[in-house]
């Protein structure tokens, strides 16, 4: 029985646990880290089962090449040579921007750094992105504009000090369970709770106020609350005058959002909007918590701006127990963004378009770097479908299930001249790949992950990877070398050392300093203790900027042909495309099949019974799923989780994109339902 301390591979909360291994070196279980500030001896069901998929028989154990429709096992050298030849061949023939690199919020910081270096320095394109595009790209865009930094402003410990928590568009107890539990504990000790969510999520049972606004109407709700706060004279005038700019524009922007007007858009009673505003404004310390319910809209960036405006208006920034707190989804989605696995920035959000930043990276890497920002993941899919992107390397992502409009994604991936995927399991995306490379999973390698509260922490190797599977960083080093770039890193610690020299916010981060509980960035130098709360004295951008927004309806609303609003998301027991959780016995047992939540009144109208298979269709596709009759969804709405390949919610969703962040509208499209 050995115990290896590591970071949970699932959500962005950043719990730490010990992987237990038996005398034969096999993983036998998980024990939460007792003194770690996030886990404190606790985990959610996914964490408690995080060892379970590691030795699943489906693990990829050898490089495989598809020839005449058949997968054949090949050796690493031939596989890597082929990969490099294909990518460089396409780049030479059609230009480097005909390549696309998709990185992963599941792999380490070091691996994200290497892949973005490979794309930019190795193959000469800024076409690199990852699944943050699908979750918090709206946050990064919106918060950089208003506050100067796109990350969670405060820390998880702030939940223990706050007076009020406003949760909007986050099913926290299911998606960030150990943050959800902090919210429940805060309520127990007397903090107030406002939940704004069309579904009756668990937190709603504990809320002082549950607002069930129509999906996609958040801007109206938030503007309405702000108008009311101004009407009541409850704004924080001192904070506004000393620390913000553009207030007059905000006042004007929210003027028309009277409770009655907001009620029409949101479907809420006008009094609820007034009560929410008053409850929120009265708190001396209020935290706003949000997630995909805010970001995944064709106006996701506007939603984020509205949230930021509300926090600025009430002075809820830069202090303990306050803040704009986007909860990042994947265990390393914060890190993948920090590492510059994005088309427009290098590490630490240094802009590709900034000649000085480009010069710095160019000098460090010893090559000329491309100037124009690259393609966002969602645009790259469109470009591939149109034949403009021809070669793609996907590291640990499964866009066939995770991107909106599966029909388009399939068309795009099938049209590529060459697709290579590095992953730990076969997925719906590896099914379309010409080359599949087997990777080590989180338990089989060292690295660092950055949690939602900007805490950089260690992942540690607990066992050997199966067969010929290799850590991603070694695969990427081998490719860098084939591109003629030096990549003789002895271990991931050396990669972090290089990253730290190029990244001001990670400047003080090194492996020895991460022992124990990690460090929260910004951590600019070796003596810096890390930063639990951002924007204390001043905002990262100087003054906080009010950025007024108007309400824009969602791209596709229910109509006579498609009368239901489809809401998509996740469930507690599964993780994203299910490649790990559906291979974990207990998690799989809890939820075994695709389902659709439908309100009992709607079910009755359409003669649908509990557990009956139903057909759900949108303008883009049709799937079947088992009906789950529940008043968790309001009448007129259905909810489908996107984990299940056999009933893929994203065959239905609309790839209407936010014009600024490129995020698809996962939370609103129109569908119809029929018994199968």
């Amino acid at each position: 029985m050995n115990a290896t301390l590591t970071t949970c591979p699932y959500c962005g909360t950043g719990c730490n646990f010990y992987l237990q291994s038996d005398v034969n070196g096999r993983l036998s279980g998980v024990e939460p880290a007792g003194k770690h500030p996030t886990s404190r001896g606790q985990l959610c069901i996914k964490g408690w089962n995080a060892h379970a998929f590691v030795d699943h028989p489906d693990r990829l154990t050898a490089p495989q090449l598809r020839r005449n429709g058949q997968l054949q096992i090949t050796d690493w050298n031939s596989a890597l040579d082929l990969l490099h030849d294909k990518l460089s061949g396409i780049a030479a023939q059609y230009g480097p921007d005909s390549l696309m690199f998709l990185s992963s919020a599941k792999v380490s910081n070091e691996e994200n750094y290497l892949l973005m270096k490979l794309a930019r320095a190795g193959y000469g394109t800024n076409n690199i992105d990852h699944c943050a595009r699908l979750c918090h790209s709206s946050t990064v865009t919106g918060l950089v504009e208003t506050l100067g930094s796109g990350a969670m402003t405060n820390s998880l410990s702030c939940f223990d000090e706050t007076g009020l928590i406003f949760v909007i568009g986050s099913n926290t107890t299911e998606q960030h369970p150990l943050i959800g539990s902090r919210i429940l504990n805060a309520v127990q000790r007397g903090a107030r709770l406002i939940v704004a969510d069309s579904r009756k999520i668990r937190l709603a049972r504990h809320a002082d106020l549950h607002l069930r606004q129509q999906n996609g109407s958040d801007v109206a709700l938030l503007n309405g609350m702000m108008r009311q706060i101004l009407q009541d004279g409850q704004e924080d005038t001192e904070f506004i005058s000393q620390r913000t700019e553009n207030f007059a524009a905000l006042r004007q922007g929210v003027e028309k959002f009277t409770p009655e007007y907001v009620a029409q858009i949101t479907g809420l009673p006008p009094e609820q909007i007034v009560s929410a505003a008053r409850l929120f404004a009265q708190a001396r310390r209020a935290m706003i918590v949000y997630a995909m319910g805010i970001t995944q809209h064709s106006h996701g960036v506007d939603n984020v701006r509205a949230i930021s405006n509300l926090a600025l208006l009430t002075g809820n920034l830069g202090r303990p127990g306050t803040g704009v707190n986007p909860l990042r989804g994947q265990n390393n989605v914060q890190g993948a963004c920090d590492m510059g696995a994005l088309p427009d920035v290098y590490t630490g959000y240094q802009r590709v378009a900034d000649p000085a930043a480009r010069q710095k990276f160019s000098t460090a890497w010893g090559v000329q770097l491309p100037e124009t920002p690259g393609l966002m993941a969602t645009h790259a899919i469109e470009a591939a479908a149109a034949g403009q992107v021809r070669g793609m390397l996907i590291l640990g992502e499964n866009p066939m299930l995770s991107e909106a409009n599966q029909g388009l994604v399939r068309k795009a991936l099938e049209r590529l001249d060459f697709l290579a995927v590095i992953d730990i399991f076969p997925t719906e995306t590896t099914d379309l790949a010409e080359l599949i490379l087997p990777a080590a999973c989180y338990a089989e390698k060292d690295g660092t992950f950055t949690s939602t509260e900007r805490r950089v922490q260690r992942g540690r190797k607990a066992l050997e990877s199966p067969g010929a599977a290799r850590p991603d960083w070694q695969i990427l080093c081998a490719l860098l070398q084939r591109c003629g770039l030096p990549a003789e890193y002895a271990d991931p610690a050396e990669i972090m050392t290089e990253t730290a020299t190029l990244t001001p916010s990670y400047g003080g981060i090194s492996y020895p300093r991460l022992e124990g509980m990690g460090l929260q960035w910004p951590c600019p130098d070796a003596e810096h203790p890390g930063t639990p709360i951002l924007h204390r004295e001043q905002f990262t951008r100087g003054k906080g900027r009010f950025s007024p927004v108007d309400y824009r309806p969602s791209a596709e609303l229910p109509d006579a042909d498609y009368p239901f609003l489809l809401n998509t998301g996740r469930t507690y027991f599964h993780w994203h495309t299910g490649s790990m959780t559906r291979r974990s016995h207990l998690l799989d047992r809890e939820e075994r099949q695709a389902f659709v939540e439908i309100h009992p009144a709607d079910a009755k109208k359409h003669r649908i019974k509990e557990r009956q298979q139903v057909k759900i269709s949108s303008r883009r596709g049709t799937i079947a799923a088992a009906a789950q009759l529940t008043d968790r969804v309001p009448a007129g709405q259905v909810f489908i989780p996107f984990h299940f390949a056999e009933g893929a919610a994203n065959a239905l969703t609309n790839n209407a994109l936010d014009p600024e962040s490129g995020i698809p509208e996962f939370k609103v499209c129109a569908v119809r339902i029929e018994p199968c």
Binding site: N16, D22, L27, V30, G34, G41, I45, P57, N185, L586
Partner: protein, 329 residues
């Protein structure tokens, strides 16, 4: 047999034990968690809070291969371990927990998989001044092979089995008066279980806790399963089959009665289909069903589920709430 050990004698005893056993000893791990780990793999931690992972996991691990069936249908059992296990550093609660599941797994029909690990294993208690900051831990009920009782700068060592006596043979005799004094201190110290557990048990047995109580408590359950997985007397497991190239491998995996599918029927119907029913069941099992079956509470008061529960509804918390609300007067 009563002996007395110095620090170096203690080390000697451990070395000797490690020669014949897979010895697990308490260590302080990287984040400060205290846990049993292989002897020699890190620094020994001789006092502190109860090791976090339940010691019963040594005999009944979270995931445990049971057998493999190859393509001919032949069944192979996992290879037997070379040496039996020895656990050092068990306090009175943990010894009690092991005794509790020993009785459960040994009751007919006996669980041979458990006994495979447990038979011939050695248990070494560690009590006395061995708590956090060398605070006093009550002495055991003798349900171990050897009990080491920390006292000032040495350890009194009591053997409760023949193997224990053999291992302690070489060491000098201990002071019986000192042992008597420590035993007295134990009885005056505190009951091994807080009163609230017993009182809550009686209220439950007399059906004095209404359904809406369970609704309110269970509304806070986030279904992490930690309360069960952390509990040394929880013994439920489910089976996991995995098809590999060389056959089908069957393992058992810790299960949790807080989970929906624990009782869900193939039809989809679930007799325990709400968190309220399941939370009620969890507490009932420990405080009402176990006393009826075994004559004692199913909670050994180790505190692990109260620590593991992210929302504060471990068994102490729930028992206290029951007593507060429903005890007469």
């Amino acid at each position: 047999m009563l002996k007395q050990l110095t620090r170096s004698a203690l080390e000697h005893l451990l070395q000797q034990t490690a020669a014949d056993y897979r010895l697990q000893v308490p260590q302080r791990l990287a984040d400060g968690t205290r846990q049993l780990a292989p002897y020699g793999s890190g620094e020994l931690s001789l006092f502190g809070e109860t090791p976090q992972r339940k010691p019963t996991s040594a005999f009944f691990p979270q995931t445990e291969p049971l057998l493999k069936i190859d393509s001919t249908g032949a069944v192979q059992l996992p290879a037997a371990a070379e040496k039996p296990l020895a656990l050092f550093g068990l306090d009175a609660h943990d010894l009690h927990g092991i005794a509790f599941i020993d009785r459960f797994f040994s009751a007919a029909p006996a669980d041979d998989v458990y006994l495979r690990q447990r038979t011939n294993a050695l248990l070494i208690g560690l009590t006395g001044a061995a708590g956090p900051d060398q605070s006093f831990l009550p002495l055991s009920a003798g349900n171990c092979d050897i009990e080491l009782i920390a006292s000032n700068d040495h350890w009194l060592a009591v053997a409760y089995s023949e193997t224990g006596e053999q291992l302690l043979e070489p060491f000098p005799d201990g002071d019986n008066d000192r042992l008597r004094a420590l035993r007295e201190e134990t009885s005056s110290y505190r009951a091994i279980r807080p009163d609230s557990l017993q009182k809550a048990s009686e209220l439950l047995l007399h059906d004095r806790v209404p359904d809406d109580f369970w609704e309110a408590i269970a509304a806070r359950c986030i279904l992490c399963s930690g309360c069960n997985l952390a509990c040394p007397t929880c013994t439920c497991f489910c089976l996991q089959d995995r098809q590999r190239a060389d056959g089908t491998e069957r393992s058992r995996v810790w299960d949790s009665c807080q989970l929906d599918a624990f009782m869900r029927e193939a039809s989809g119907h679930n007799p325990l289909g709400s968190e309220a029913l399941r939370t009620r069941r969890r507490i009932h099992h420990k405080l009402a069903a176990d006393p009826q079956r075994w004559g004692e509470l199913g909670c050994v008061a180790c505190g692990r589920c109260d620590r593991a529960c992210p929302t504060g509804i471990g068994i102490f918390a729930v028992a206290e709430e029951i007593v507060k609300r429903y005890e007469k007067g």
